[in-house]
C-alpha cells in the first residue's frame, strides 16, 4: 500500500515552472492516486470530496509552483497542500458518515474462527476502518493517512505538517489509540483467531 517511486525528477519540475503541460501531466500521474486516496479516506470514501480536493491541490500546485525552490522535498510541499485542503474542507461541514451496523460488528467479535486474512477481507471490516478513520479529529486523521500512504519519514511529515517530530509522533499515537478503541470488535475477532 505504501507509495513507491518517491520524488519527481528536477527536470519535470523545471518544465512545469516553464508551463509545460506534458510535464504537469506527468507530475499529476506520479502523485494522483496517493493524493486521491488520502482525500478519499479522509472523507470516508467520499469520491466527490476526493475528486474536489485532488483537483484543488493540483490546480493550486500549478499556480504556486514558481514559489517552490527545491530547498525541501517536493513531496513535503505537495502533502502540505493536501493536508491543508482536507482540513480546510472539513471545517464547518457536517460529516455524513455511513456507519457500520453495531450488530454486525458484535457478530464479528463473537466469531473465533477468522484468520488475519479472512478478517481483513471482510467488507464490514473495511467499512468500519474507513468510518473509524473518518471520525478522527482532522489533524490526527491527516497524520495517520500521511504516514501510511506515502511512507513519509517523521522529519518529512514534520515539514509537511509544519510541526515538530515530537508533535507528529504524538498525533500518530493519539490517532492510533483512538482507532484501536473504535475498532475494538475487530481487534477482539483478531485475538479470537490467533
Amino acid at each position: 500500500m505504501n507509495g513507491a517511486g518517491r520524488e519527481i525528477s528536477p527536470d519535470i519540475l523545471d518544465a512545469c515552472r516553464r508551463g509545460d503541460r506534458e510535464a504537469f501531466r506527468a507530475l499529476y500521474e506520479a502523485y494522483k492516486d496517493r493524493v486521491y486516496s488520502i482525500a478519499f479516506y479522509f472523507f470516508h470514501a467520499n469520491a466527490d470530496a476526493a475528486s474536489e480536493v485532488t483537483q484543488q491541490v493540483f490546480l493550486k500546485l500549478m499556480r504556486e509552483i514558481g514559489r517552490f525552490r527545491g530547498d525541501a522535498a517536493f513531496s513535503t510541499w505537495l502533502y502540505r497542500l493536501v493536508v491543508n485542503a482536507c482540513v480546510d474542507r472539513s471545517r464547518g461541514r457536517r460529516v455524513d458518515v455511513v456507519g457500520e451496523d453495531p450488530a454486525t460488528l458484535d457478530t464479528l467479535a463473537a466469531s473465533t474462527a477468522l484468520s488475519h486474512e479472512e478478517l481483513f477481507a471482510r467488507r464490514e471490516v473495511a467499512t468500519s476502518v474507513q468510518q473509524a478513520i473518518a471520525t478522527l479529529p482532522p489533524k490526527l486523521r491527516a497524520a495517520i493517512l500521511l504516514r501510511y500512504f506515502d511512507d513519509l519519514s517523521y522529519s518529512e511529515m514534520a515539514a509537511a505538517l509544519r510541526c515538530s517530530i515530537g508533535t507528529v509522533a504524538s498525533r500518530l499515537s493519539r490517532g492510533h489509540r483512538l482507532l484501536a478503541k473504535k475498532l475494538a470488535p475487530v481487534r477482539m475477532a483478531l485475538k479470537g483467531g490467533e
Binding site: 500500500m1 505504501n2 507509495g3 515552472r17 508551463g19 503541460r21 504537469f24 501531466r25 499529476y28 494522483k32 492516486d33 496517493r34 493524493v35 486521491y36 486516496s37 478519499f40 479516506y41 469520491a47 466527490d48 476526493a50 475528486s51 474536489e52 485532488t54 483537483q55 484543488q56 493540483f58 490546480l59 493550486k60 500549478m62 499556480r63 504556486e64 509552483i65 514558481g66 481483513f120 473495511a126 476502518v129 474507513q130 478513520i133 495517520i144 493517512l145 504516514r147 501510511y148 500512504f149 519519514s153 517523521y154 515530537g166 509522533a169 504524538s170 500518530l172 499515537s173 490517532g175 492510533h176 489509540r177 482507532l179 484501536a180 478503541k181 475498532l183 475487530v186 481487534r187 483478531l190
Partner: protein
C-alpha cells in the same frame, strides 16, 4: 530511561526510528508499565489495520476537471498555464469541482453571474433578474454548489441565499443545472412547481403561459407543489401546469402514444381513454408512470393500474395489495423502490 509514560514515543519505537539508547529506555519502561504496554498493542493493531487500506485510483474525471480549468479563459487572458497569475481572475469555469475551488478562493458570495457572449462577470443580489433576451446566454455560479446555464430568451430571478437554501425563480425560458449539493439545498421555483434539487443534473423550461417541463440527465429530482410530488429520475421528464403543479413523469424513450396519453390524462382530457392507452402501452420501465398514477386515478381505476404494475413486478414483502390500494405511504414507497430496479 523513561520515568514518565511513553505513549507519544511509541509510534517511533514501532517504526524503528529511535536511537539504540532511546529504544533501550522504552524497553525498560514497557517492562514495568502495563498501561504503556496496552498502548503499544493498540498502536501496533491500528497501524496494521491502516496498512490494509488500498490505494484508490483517481478516476479520469479528476484530470478532465483540471484540464478543463487550465483551458478555461479568464476575464483578462487565457489561463492556459499561467501559474503565477491570480487564480481569482477566473470567471467562467466548466466543471463544478473547479468552480468550487475558485469561489472558495474569492470568499463567500451569493450569486456570481457571467455573460458568456461579452465575457463580463458581476456579482448580483437576491431579487435581481438575469435576462438573456437577444440571443445571449449566461452562467450562474451557485456559490460552491455548481452552475446553472441560462439559455437565450430566458428570465431568471435570483432568490434568497441562506445556509439552508439557494433559490432561483425561473419565469420563462430554459436553464440547465449541474449541482452537487446536499439534498434540498438548491431549489428552482417555476410558476407551476418547485424543482427541489437532490444533487444532480437537469434542464428546466418554462413557457410564456407558465407551463414547464423538467428533463433529468443525472441523478433524480422531486417536483413539488402544494403537497403533490413527482419523482423524476435520470432519463425521464415531467411537465408542470399552473394551477395543477407537477404532472405525471415518464421516460423519454416511452412510446409516443403513452406520452400523449399521459399529457391528456394530466390535462383532464378523456382521462378514462387516456388511462386505457397508458395501461396498454406501458413497458416494464413505464412502471414509473403507472406508480405515480396509483394516487392520481379515481378509486375504480386504481385496481386496473395496480394489476398492470403487478404483472411486471408484484409488490414486495411488507406491501400488500390492500395497503397499496389504500395508498399507504410506506407500502407505496417499498413498491417504488422495488420497481426502480427495472427503470
Amino acid at each position: 530511561m523513561f520515568t514518565r509514560h511513553v505513549h507519544d514515543v511509541l509510534p517511533r519505537y514501532c517504526d524503528g526510528e529511535l536511537s539504540a539508547g532511546e529504544r533501550q529506555g522504552v524497553d525498560a519502561h514497557l517492562a514495568t508499565c502495563a498501561r504503556c504496554r496496552a498502548s503499544l498493542e493498540e498502536i501496533q493493531f491500528s497501524a496494521n489495520v491502516v496498512r490494509q487500506l488500498k490505494v484508490i485510483s483517481a478516476p479520469p474525471s479528476v484530470w478532465n476537471g483540471i484540464d478543463a480549468a487550465l483551458s478555461a479563459p479568464t476575464r483578462h487572458r487565457s489561463l492556459a498555464f499561467a501559474p503565477r497569475w491570480a487564480f481569482a481572475c477566473i470567471a467562467v469555469l466548466v466543471v463544478a469541482g473547479a468552480a468550487y475551488w475558485v469561489t472558495r478562493d474569492m470568499g463567500p458570495k451569493p450569486w456570481e453571474v457571467s455573460r458568456v457572449n461579452d465575457g463580463g462577470t458581476r456579482r448580483m443580489a437576491a431579487g435581481e433578474w438575469v435576462d438573456t433576451g437577444g440571443g445571449s446566454t449566461a452562467r450562474i455560479i451557485v456559490g460552491e454548489l455548481g452552475t446553472v446555464d441560462v439559455a437565450p430568451q430566458t428570465r431568471v430571478r435570483l432568490g434568497q441565499v441562506s445556509q439552508s437554501e439557494y433559490r432561483l425563480h425561473l419565469d420563462r425560458g430554459t436553464i440547465s443545472a449541474e449541482i452537487n449539493a446536499p439534498p434540498r439545498l438548491f431549489i428552482v421555483d417555476t410558476p407551476a412547481s418547485a424543482v427541489v434539487d437532490l444533487g444532480c443534473a437537469y434542464t428546466v423550461t418554462v413557457g410564456g403561459d407558465g407551463a414547464g417541463e423538467l428533463r433529468m440527465t443525472k441523478g433524480w429530482s422531486s417536483l413539488e407543489w402544494k403537497g403533490r410530488e413527482s419523482l423524476v429520475p435520470a432519463g425521464a421528464m415531467c411537465r408542470t401546469r399552473p394551477g395543477s403543479g407537477p404532472g405525471t413523469p415518464y421516460f423519454e424513450d416511452a412510446s409516443a402514444a403513452l406520452k400523449r396519453a399521459v399529457d391528456d390524462f394530466d390535462a383532464g382530457t378523456n382521462r378514462s381513454q387516456a388511462l386505457d392507452v397508458i395501461v396498454r402501452e406501458a413497458r416494464v420501465r413505464d412502471t414509473l408512470t403507472l406508480w405515480h398514477l396509483l394516487s392520481r386515478v379515481d378509486e375504480p381505476d386504481r385496481m386496473r393500474v395496480y394489476e398492470r404494475i403487478a404483472e411486471f413486478e408484484p409488490p414486495p414483502a411488507g406491501a400488500t395489495r390492500d395497503q397499496i390500494l389504500a395508498l399507504d405511504a410506506d407500502a407505496l414507497r417499498r413498491w417504488r423502490e422495488e420497481l426502480a430496479w427495472k427503470w
